[in-house]
């Protein structure tokens, strides 16, 4: 009887370590769950502040003197002229490709948008059209080396067979935008 009592005591005492073992073994489990139940990541946010790009015309386009006759006058960006058809070239003194000055962020590249359709020159006689605008920048993209650049623009003038003599003028837009 005495022996049985002491054995029961031992067993009762064993309950406490057993219970502690149970609690202890559950603790790391809940700690691990806290680690698994959330996560954080850090990402980047970025922006580039650039100065405004601006364009100013410095030289007007001028086809110079042209003698009437159905055809065209092609004005290149180096001011050179070529006549086609029955049109012939007159005095070339005034002939000039248009020139534009572009300013903006140093080193930035930009895109040039030339007129996509013909513009009209009005004057003393029937209207004439100018089309096929070209720039001296391959691919119509430029780089603002030192923050500035110059764009030269040529085009093709369409002359009528009986174009009244006189001066004809018109205007066109050139647009630049950062790449």
């Amino acid at each position: 009887m005495l022996r049985r009592k002491s054995l029961e005591d031992i067993m009762r005492k064993l309950w406490i370590p057993a219970a502690l073992a149970l609690v202890a073994s559950l603790l790391p489990l809940s700690a691990a769950n806290a680690q698994f139940s959330s996560d954080t990541d850090t990402a980047s946010a970025s922006v580039t502040i650039v100065s405004a790009i601006s364009i100013t015309k410095t030289v007007d386009m001028n086809f110079g003197d042209v003698v009437e006759g159905a055809g065209t006058v092609i004005l290149a960006t180096d001011n050179g002229r070529t006549a086609t058809g029955n049109t012939t070239l007159g005095n070339s003194t005034a002939a000039a490709a248009a020139s534009f000055s572009v300013t903006g962020d140093s080193g930035a590249t930009y895109a040039i948008t030339l007129p996509g359709s013909a513009i009209t020159l009005t004057g003393t006689g029937t209207d004439m059209t100018v089309d096929t605008f070209v720039s001296d920048h391959p691919g119509d993209t430029g780089t603002l080396t030192g923050g500035t650049d110059t764009i030269l623009v040529g085009a093709t003038l369409n002359v009528g067979a009986t174009q009244t003599t006189g001066a004809y003028t018109g205007s066109f837009d050139l647009t630049v935008a950062y790449n």
Partner: protein, 159 residues
């Protein structure tokens, strides 16, 4: 007497082994939730003027402006995106920062009003979800031209 003693010994040991059995299943039942950056948040190119402005990028990656700033080209405009992985069909909460600082050698800017899609809570469905984040960027009056960058943290937690 011997039988009784055996029973008394057996009970605590049975409890202990039961506890040992309990250890494994809960840990295995829950996959950890993880978040990984896919793309940074990009506000693109912005032109500062003499008036302050705010550039907003939505979680859908759409950019707009209010105030004095002018939008430059859209290259680099993107919402921040994150890949969330975890347990099937579990929902989770999303914690966005209240603000973040973008800096360059020329100055600093603040981004705030962070928004996300899904907005407050996500559902992992088959175990993954892409979380997209947008924010407002405050462009100062005559903010110096430079490339600015900073970081922000996003936390996800099982509901």
């Amino acid at each position: 007497m011997n039988r009784r003693a055996l029973t008394l010994v057996a009970v605590p040991f049975a409890m202990m082994s039961f506890a040992a059995v309990l250890l494994t299943p809960p840990a295995a039942a829950l996959l950890p939730i993880t978040i990984t950056t896919l793309t940074g948040l990009g506000f693109g190119q912005v032109i500062a003027t003499s008036t302050p402005g705010i550039v907003t990028v939505t979680p859908a990656g759409t950019r707009s402006v209010s105030g004095g700033a002018v939008l430059g080209n859209g290259l680099g405009v993107t919402a921040g995106t994150f890949l969330i992985t975890g347990d099937l069909n579990n929902t989770y909460s999303i914690t966005l920062p209240s603000s973040a600082t973008l800096s360059s050698g020329a100055g600093t800017m603040t981004a705030d009003n962070f928004t996300s899609s899904p907005s407050d809570s996500g559902n992992l469905g088959l175990g993954t979800q892409v979380l997209a984040v947008g924010a407002d960027l405050h462009v100062g009056a005559s903010q110096s031209t430079a490339s600015y960058s900073g970081t922000y943290a996003v936390t996800v937690a099982y509901n």
